[in-house]
Amino acid sequence: MSRIIDEYILKLRAQINLPFNERGKILDEIRDHLETEAAALRKDRQLSTDESELEATTRFGAPEEIGIAYSPSGTLVKNSAGDVLLRVATLTGRAAGRGAKGVLKWTGITILSLIGIGLILVVAMLFFAGGVVETFQDDIRESVPRPIYTYSGAWGITDPQANTFSDSFQIGSRVKEFRLDFDTQPTAGCVAIQLISPSGTITDVNGSGCGATDKMLTFTEQGNWQIRYTYAAYAGTVNVDGYAFETAPARS
């Protein structure tokens, strides 16, 4: 009988302010964790049932703190001892139409920008007194990328006839370097991806495109780039993301 775990779950239930079904699933998952941990402690360290459950629930965290971490408002939480409990950011997914086929997805970039901001704050904390932040803030700003292109799709094309569609994006004069991530997961058929640079150079990304693709390519050429997708009876996912590292704008 998991007396201590049962009491912990009851306390945790009172702290998690979520709909009934959602809360129930969360508590099921946490109960599984605690009972697995307690069983491991009994086996590895020959603890009693109560000792193992007490240690498992202590390691897990106070119910009040776990409840805050499930708060929909999302905050950086620290307890009275200064432990950073969790950084639960309310990540807003924003989609903006981009032509006929591309859709900007900001979720991943939002996460990464928040990480970049976090590191900026750490650097600021380290060097604030010396004024180094002001000297190097352009360097720091130039380290955070800007999204330039994205395509994401799940296809189910049965036509064996080869077809092609093209997309394009612009690389401006402040771009030092940009990267493109290609990810295809076919279940049938092929999708071959090619890049055409402003100067006309063709880069073959994935050959025939009949196998899975997981590749990152880096370029520096500025101007109008094209991406060409040639497919035949392709079923699967296609994901392409591009982001650019830019020089800081000139100061007036």
Binding site: E35, R59, V84, F245
Partner: protein, 117 residues
């Protein structure tokens, strides 16, 4: 606050900033994986320093799932209750690739700053 206390807090603050990525990296590496196994693997890969409370990883997994970076399914638990298994999604893999590039550049910047006279 002593220097040692300050460094402990700094390490914890920096770890909190990277906790999302650490979770995604381990889900990608060990998928499909349940929360308990994920937490143990994360703890082992960071030297068992106990830089976060174990229970805070579950809300983080829930957030990552809402954002579409991981997906989950229920299976049978070893001790009776149902167990939730996690896998990374294509969107999660993309975020990791982007993060790797950012991490590389930021590390270069930090190395430069630290070595500056």
């Amino acid at each position: 606050m002593t220097t040692a206390d300050y460094l402990v807090r700094l390490e914890r603050d920096m770890t909190a900033g990277f906790l999302h990525l650490l979770v995604l990296l381990h889900v990608r590496r060990d998928e499909p994986i349940h929360g308990y196994g994920l937490i143990k693997n994360m703890d082992a890969s960071t030297g068992g320093k106990g830089l976060w409370k174990e229970g805070t990883v579950y809300p983080l997994l829930a957030q990552l799932e809402k954002e579409g970076l991981v997906q989950s399914r229920w299976g049978k638990g070893s001790t009776g209750p149902r167990r939730k298994y996690y896998e990374i999604t294509p969107a999660g893999r993309q975020v990791l690739r982007l993060a790797h590039g950012i991490w590389h550049d930021l590390r270069t910047t930090l190395d430069t700053l630290v070595e500056a006279p």
